[in-house]
Amino acid sequence: MSAQIAPPGTGQERKELDRVVIRFAGDSGDGMQMTGDRFTSVSAFLGNDLSTLPDFPAEIRAPAGTLAGVSAFQIHFSDHDILTPGDQPGVLVAMNPAALKANLKDLLPGGLLIVNEDAFDKRNLEKVGYTTNPLDGGSLEGFQVTRIHMTKMTIAAVKDSTLNKKEAERSKNMLALGVICWMYGRPLEPTIAWLEKKFSKKPEIANATIAALKAGHAFGETAELAAYSVKPATLAPGTYRRITGNQAIAFGLIAASVQSKVPLLLGSYPITPASDILHELSRYKNFGVRTIQAEDEIAAISMAIGASFSGHLGVTTTSGPGLDLKSEALGLAVSLELPLLVIDIQRGGPSTGLPTKTEQSDLLHAMYGRHGESPLPIVASYSPPSCFWAAIEGARLALKYMTPVIILSDGYLANGAEPWRIPAVEKLPEIPVRFASQPNVGEDFWPYLRDETTLARPWAIPGTPGLEHRIGGLEKADGSGNISYDPDNHNLMTLLRQAKIKAIEEDIDPLEWDGDDDARVLVLGWGSTYGAIGAACRRLRLRGLKVARAHLKHLNPFPKNTGELLSRFDEVIIPEMNMGQLSKLIRAEFLIDVISINQVKGLPFRAGDLEAEIEEHL
């Protein structure tokens, strides 16, 4: 692990670091998400690799200054490729006592602590149970503390504006950003341009924020604060942008629609942390994307299925509680054999649980959460950009095999951002789709006459003369699709539905692995643990330990080589943010006594913790 913390240089001669983790923390009203986002943007602009972790309070704005109201944003940026938003920040910006109290335990020993000392008044201290001011006394001795009168300086910086004091004060996050930009040698121009655009209709505010930003930067220089630099990372050539997981899903869906020439209809009901996909997709009406905010999750999936029946790619997005509600209609989609995407952004459960936190605990629900035998493919994204791939892959399978597909993402991927090398449209996979246009049995049309290779049934859509047909949730006769109560037919249809999904293993990428050829131990993951597992394995290998790793992107069916690959290793370790759900599937399928590493904290694994846990088994 490269050191984040080092003696600082001066403005002229900045001390070079290879990676830095900064956490911005303040009250929900302090604009920390925006601050972090801007810092991320300028770092991307400089060519650093980066990964971010927004962490905001559950659901409701808590009273100002309380612990419940603390909102934080962590960014990890570097001169080499990185995999996680960082375990522990080396720099903590704390805008008030609550932010300090909630985050100090994570700051690396010796780390930089930058505080807005104006906020450390009696009232704020009391709100979080500080009886004395922690800035005084020795409790912060292990850190490099920089106290700044951020509020006062901000008010002073914007004193020429017509904003009142309270309004003026709001820009203190930009002052903090200015300070940090100076310390890490980031230019102000991109941020200034952004502010000008964002507040183009409110020039007073544009001016105030820019003034505060500049004041912070100037202060850093004047006060000769520690100065560092982080060189660009050597990323693969190409055009990059930052992207969050939810944005990547939205883009992926649109790409799938364009590539398949099948229009998109999203039926969705808002729920954290999935709502942003709905928000994002509602904007792209010029792509012919129809979005319906349904009355509930059941209606949402039903609308999507209705759209699929009539020739659209029906999509529905949700999180755990909503997935529960979709179970019955999803079972119908299995029976109807229509293409459908159900996108589940997992969050902490059970029940309402921890709505803004991340978890991987819906895997078994996705596999088995319907009555009856109702298999369907499951695809999981593993990084914010990979959500683009997951959406396209899910759509490809749904359209080719005429089946609902569940795509699993989670709260961490949904909100976290990483640089994304934008793919060339020409390189995107083709998704050929043919609607049925002719009777297929003499004069008749049989909606369940399957394609011999894919076992998919034909997709005949309303408006096509001669292909009128009725389908429903009652068991259908193989071929004709008429209602059938025949026992043997039911058995056959059950087998066919299973065989169709199982056969997809032939049509997906084999499970890849990397690491030491002679490793005894394989670390197997799925979903958003990708970065943390990767970082942990990298560190272990840098230390000379032998380890291999593989990451499942298809959870049902598993890639065909999975069993064979796993059997090459003496031990298989599966870290999951749940109580061992993939472990259960692997054990049942391959009878391997896997080792589970489980954490159910609403937070991603720390690479360091994983490193230690894996090491125990090497």
Partner: protein, 356 residues
């Protein structure tokens, strides 16, 4: 990309197509599927099926443009018997499936068939939301005041005190009035008729078909197995005196020789009077299109159940923006203003940087 920036159909045309033999030559037979009809002998559903199959050929719409969507229940078997596109979906959700279809494809003619349990018990919410949105759906609610398919439990329209399998000591619930509920859900077309009304039912179906937007029809339907005779006071022989036929622009009169009429009292409540006593000018004139739906609502309250003088016909018909059309318009406007979607431009939007 089409004009709407919408990907074009991979293989087939979406526009209006000619049905088998051309639209104009469609007959009732063309709408009969090859599936054996499986209702109990004597069930009111047969008459409704026949009426629908007799009306559709006259609408000038090709057969392949029709979609019938249902939930679960005896009534919900309906789509299987129609030689059109159709979905027999899950219990209570038909309006939502149909909303997806009608929104994806404003060119289609989408009908929902539901029961009093399917549409008002488990599915009540989807029904009122579809009506509120004014989705372009024709919704037929077969009200037999009982759960037929599950063999005879009371439904949300069963009368208070009803003894059924699940209420051996009598039901304790006030029934919904489906017409009142549809009006309160801001429906733009609300009507009522009954299964064996040979002329009225087809007429109301035609009226609904002509309405762009949500059309809601409550159809009293006799379940002769589990709730026989529920509507006999209204539909039975010699009971025409209880049928209050609503006709736009006409005074609301009924009974032998139209001797009875509906009058609005000074306090706004409705009452039944003898026309001779009250004078015809005192009788309410029906106005389907009145700006306020209070009047239609008052009419819906005239009887508290089909055992008293009960209005039949179109309670209300007004034009309002249709949900799917609105979406279509937004798509068109977006494509006009922003140009048709360009995937490469989309992916490259926002702050980008290049590494060489």
């Amino acid at each position: 990309m089409s004009e709407l920036g919408q990907p074009e159909d991979p293989t087939i045309e979406r526009g209006i197509t000619e049905g088998p033999g051309g639209v104009s030559t469609l007959t009732r037979q063309d709408f009969m599927s090859d599936q054996e009809v499986r209702w109990c002998a004597g069930c009111g559903d047969y008459a409704i099926l026949a009426a629908v199959q007799s009306v559709l050929p006259g609408l000038g719409i090709p057969r392949e443009k029709f979609v019938f969507v249902s939930g679960i229940g005896c009534s919900s078997r309906f789509p299987y018997y129609m030689n059109t596109y159709g979905i027999h979906s899950i219990h209570g959700r038909a309006p939502a499936f149909a909303t997806g279809i009608a929104t994806a494809r404003p060119d289609l003619n989408v009908w929902v068939v539901t029961g009093d349990g399917d549409g008002l018990s488990i599915g009540g919410n989807h029904l009122i939301h579809a009506l509120r949105r004014n989705v372009n759906l024709k919704i037929l609610l077969f009200n037999n005041q009982i759960y037929g398919l599950t063999k005879g439990q009371y439904s949300p329209t069963s009368e208070r005190g009803k003894v059924t399998k699940s209420t051996p000591f009598g039901s304790l619930e006030t029934p919904f009035n489906p017409v009142s509920l549809a009006l309160a859900a801001e429906a733009t077309f609300v009507a009522r008729t009954y299964d064996v009304e040979r002329k009225h039912l087809p007429e109301i179906l035609r009226r609904a078909a002509a309405h762009r937007g949500s059309a809601f029809i409550e159809i009293y339907q006799n379940c002769n197995i589990f709730n026989d005779g529920a509507f006999v006071a209204l539909t039975g022989k010699g009971r025409s005196g209880n049928r209050v036929y609503l006709e736009h622009g006409k005074p609301i009169v009924f009974g032998p020789d139209n001797s009875k009429g509906v009058r609005m009292k000074k306090d706004g409540a409705l009452e039944v009077v003898n026309v001779a006593d009250a004078g015809l000018d005192q009788i309410m004139v029906h106005d389907e299109h009145h700006e306020s739906q209070s009047l239609a609502y008052a009419l819906s309250r005239l009887s508290s159940g089909p055992t008293m003088p009960t209005p039949l016909g179109v309670f209300r018909e007004v034009e309002k923006p249709v949900y799917g059309d609105g979406i279509e318009r937004q798509l068109r406007m977006a494509a006009e203003q922003q140009g048709p979607g360009d995937l490469s431009k989309l992916l490259n939007s926002g702050d980008t940087w290049t590494v060489d």
